[in-house]
């Protein structure tokens, strides 16, 4: 099954996206089987035979055109169903950005992801801000809020395992968010052609357990005390 090629979903909203994809897959597969079955069946059944004339059917009469209109209506109904399901999933993924527990600013710049952490004080624009290129460290099961920017051309932040993709456009700031349900290390490719270094522009997302994350924070901000570590 083709859907097995999808990267493992570790996102809270990824499940809905995957199940919508599965729904569309089955609907479209059914249409393909029906239409191809009809087409091949007709070709086999109605091959030219000597003495046999084709039937003069124009499809103008409504009783004949019904064979067009009813399937087209069915297509419409199924399309609308897909879109209603999609509306909910889209709202969840992109419209209703939940309050985030961890925040980062990600700036694409040929050909790196410049990731800015606010540091233990949780504020950007302060002394303890730290930029680490291409390394995004988060805690499992916490909402991560991203402000996505670009310093030069359009890039696209793509986290396949989190079902997250968002263009980074210079001159603009876009919000993105995710909540990872599993730990691990995952690659962050750039998904929008950004120049000759586009291929190979890749960061790494590390989803830590709470303890591992605390350890990482202490390594990056050695002077931070326990109270200030954001969770």
């Amino acid at each position: 099954m083709y859907l097995n090629w999808l990267p493992e979903n570790i996102s809270t909203h990824g499940g809905e996206i995957d199940s919508l994809l599965r729904l569309i897959y089955y609907i479209t597969l059914a249409w393909f089987i029906v239409t191809m079955g009809a087409m091949l069946g007709f070709v086999l059944l109605f091959r030219r035979r000597d003495g046999q004339r084709a039937a003069y059917i124009t499809g103008e009469k409504l009783s004949q055109a019904a064979w067009l209109l009813i399937p087209a209506a069915l297509v419409l109904v199924l399309d609308l169903w897909i879109d209603f399901r999609g509306g909910d999933a889209w709202a969840k993924a992109k419209l209703h950005v939940p309050p985030s527990e961890l925040q980062v600013q990600v700036t694409g710049k040929q050909f790196n992801w410049e990731i800015l952490y606010p540091g233990p004080d949780g504020q950007f624009g302060t002394v303890d801000d730290l930029q680490i290129d291409n390394e995004l460290h988060v805690v499992v099961n916490k909402v991560v809020g991203i402000t996505l920017k670009s310093k030069d051309v359009i890039h696209s932040l793509f986290l396949p395992n989190l079902r997250l993709q968002q263009n980074a456009v210079p001159g603009r700031k876009f919000p993105a968010w995710f909540q990872a349900t599993k730990t691990g290390v995952f690659e962050i490719p750039c998904a929008e052609l950004c120049g000759f270094g586009h291929s190979g522009m890749v960061g790494h997302l590390t989803v830590h357990t709470a303890e591992e994350y605390d350890k990482w924070v202490k390594e990056q901000w050695p002077s931070a005390t326990g109270d200030e570590i954001p969770r």
Binding site: L6, I57, A168, V169
Partner: protein, 578 residues
């Protein structure tokens, strides 16, 4: 409505040509005969298909065996890869699909099928071809300027494309933009010619609802093109100004907005794919009727669906921009319009299949291609539903899933639809028959290799492989799909080689094929009443008069199994109602 040609005898512009004394240059190069111009467009399209196919070969080899030296090319660096991918797309869309489906089919068929001696503006027609030829020359030249050809994708997103320092490419992109401007001018002229001719020069009795469906498709395509291309022409001018004059239409540092380019590009870019689709659909519809010996099922419904598709195609463009950062509230409306456009197109596909019901089907080469089109286009169209659903689009946008989708829909139109038309109208164009066994071999090999190439690509995209990646081995998560990439490359080589039977057949049949009668397929539309090939002016003394619709196959009460559009009948009562 009066048609001047039914009053005048052969017009003067045609009459003096009948002497045959125009000489080589006016006959073959600076010709105003729509049929020769059509062949010029065809030649250009076929030549550029070689170039585009060569670029695809190099790209695919690089993807399968990164950083190896590619036979017949050498090493591909990242800058080079971006130029390959950009120009492959640009050439295939603007210099293969458009010239063949609109330039060749449109020019050849419109006068012949409506009963006119030539286009309304024959010299404008000639100019439109030569402007396209210059445009093609600019693209080819762009490969050889310092820093090479355009490399910002066929989509040319800014600011990557707006400042030379972002790509390192300077005149390559400037020439690319100039080529586009010329190419748009060329097709604008063509569109004007198509519409004027079809509206004002139809033969007596040829009402709009007696026009063959391919003409309706060509006209709708012309209207869509005319309505949508303006924004992109403006955008191309603005982008050239950004590059050459230091303006900042698309550069944020100067107050511009990269997303403006995206909207302007896709506002044209989406209708453009329907401009390409419709003529291919039309060719398939013509062939289905002829080789089922049945009227097209639901002629009027197809026309309504075509017009609906044309309208809807203008309001779906931002489905290319779901993750672009545009206001997320805009996404659902575009997702709805996108998914709705599947309804009229589905209706047309159902009509094609129902045309086969109770037919008397002859599996000639054109018919095989037509059936192949139906299958491949349905498959490609269905993956469009996946892409049109906005949440799912988050995952597959910018991946090879998109590449698989658009190759299925585009190639089903250009290759399957294109060869449907080429094999079908070859006898009329060249006065000779093509070789049937070679034609079937070409079809079978193409069908097999096409699917083996592009079907696995869906999996590669689902796995997350982004587009325009020169080296998949740079990503650990793509290691599992690299075997698929290798398979795709090998099958793509097969697809290219599978075109050899066609090239041999085409070339040989033009010079030595069996001479064709006027109507070898026993078809009912007007082009088959002219000689094969038609002379200047298409018909002799009198152009045809039309008495019925274009698909009177197996009509009851008639001994023959078809009634040509121009055959007057003693007992007219039943037939003339259409």
């Amino acid at each position: 409505m009066t048609n001047p040609q039914s009053v005048d005898p052969i017009p003067a512009s045609v009459a003096h040509i009948a002497h045959g004394e125009l000489g080589f240059w006016r006959t073959y190069v600076f010709t105003t005969d729509h049929k020769t111009i059509a062949k010029q467009y065809l030649s250009l399209g076929l030549f550029m298909a070689f170039v585009g196919g060569y670029l695809a070969y190099v790209m695919r080899w690089q993807l399968a065996f990164p950083d190896t030296s590619i036979p017949g090319f050498g090493f591909v660096g990242p800058e080079t890869y971006n130029a390959l991918v950009t120009n492959h797309g640009t050439i295939m869309v603007f210099f293969v699909a458009m010239p063949i489906l609109l330039g060749a089919f449109g020019n050849f068929l419109i006068p012949l099928m409506i009963g006119a001696r030539d286009m309304a503006f024959p010299r404008l027609n000639m100019l439109s071809f030569w402007i396209l030829a210059v445009s093609a020359l600019l693209i080819l030249t762009s490969f050889f300027v310092p820093a090479g050809g355009a490399s910002a994708g066929w989509t040319g997103y800014a600011p990557l494309s707006a400042r030379a320092e972002y790509t390192g490419v300077n005149w390559g992109i400037n020439l690319w933009l100039l080529a586009h401007a010329l190419e748009f001018a060329s097709f604008l002229m063509g569109g004007v010619n198509f519409l004027t001719t079809a509206i004002t020069m139809r033969a007596p009795g040829m009402t709009f609802f007696r026009l063959p469906l391919v003409i309706w498709q060509l006209l709708t395509a012309s209207v869509i093109f005319l309505l949508s291309v303006g924004p992109l022409i403006s955008a191309a001018v603005m982008l050239l100004m950004d590059r050459l004059l230091g303006t900042s239409f698309f550069v944020p540092e100067g107050g511009g907005d990269p997303m403006l380019w995206e909207h302007l590009f896709w506002f044209f870019g989406h209708p453009e794919v329907y401009v390409i689709l419709l003529p291919g659909l039309g060719a398939v519809l013509e062939v289905l009727a002829v080789f089922s010996r049945k009227p097209i099922f639901g002629y009027r419904w197809i026309i309504y669906s075509t017009l609906t598709t044309g309208f809807l195609s203008m309001i779906v463009w931002a489905h290319h921009m779901f993750v672009s950062g545009m206001d997320p509230r805009l996404v659902m409306p575009f997702s709805i319009s996108t998914i709705l456009i599947s309804v009229p197109i589905a209706l047309i596909m159902f009509s094609m299949i129902l045309t086969l019901w109770k037919g008397s089907i002859r599996l000639t080469t054109p018919m095989l291609w037509a059936l192949g089109f139906i299958a491949m286009f349905i498959l490609g169209g269905l993956t469009g539903i996946v892409l049109g659903s906005a949440p799912v689009n988050i995952q597959v946008h910018g991946t090879h899933f998109v590449v698989a989708h658009f190759h299925y829909v585009l190639l089903s139109v250009v290759i399957f639809g294109g060869f449907t038309g080429l094999y079908f109208w070859f006898p009329k164009m060249f006065g000779r028959m093509m070789n049937e066994p070679l034609g079937r071999l070409h079809f079978l090999l193409t069908l097999i290799f096409f699917n083996l190439t592009f079907f696995p690509m869906h999996a590669v995209g689902l796995a997350g492989m982004p587009r325009r990646i020169a080296n998949p081995l740079q990503y650990e998560f793509l290691a599992a799909v690299q075997p698929l990439n290798v398979q795709i490359t090998i099958m793509a080589m097969g697809l290219i080689v599978a075109q050899l039977p066609f090239l041999i057949n085409f070339a040989w049949s033009i010079v030595a094929g069996r001479k064709a009668e006027p109507n070898p397929w026993e078809a009912a539309t007007l082009e088959w009443t002219a000689p094969s090939p038609p002379p200047h002016g298409n018909w002799g003394e009198a152009i045809p008069t039309v008495y019925r619709g274009p698909y009177e196959y197996s009509p009851p009460g008639v001994r023959e199994d078809y009634l040509p559009q121009d055959r007057a009948l003693a007992a007219r009562s039943a037939q003339e109602k259409r």
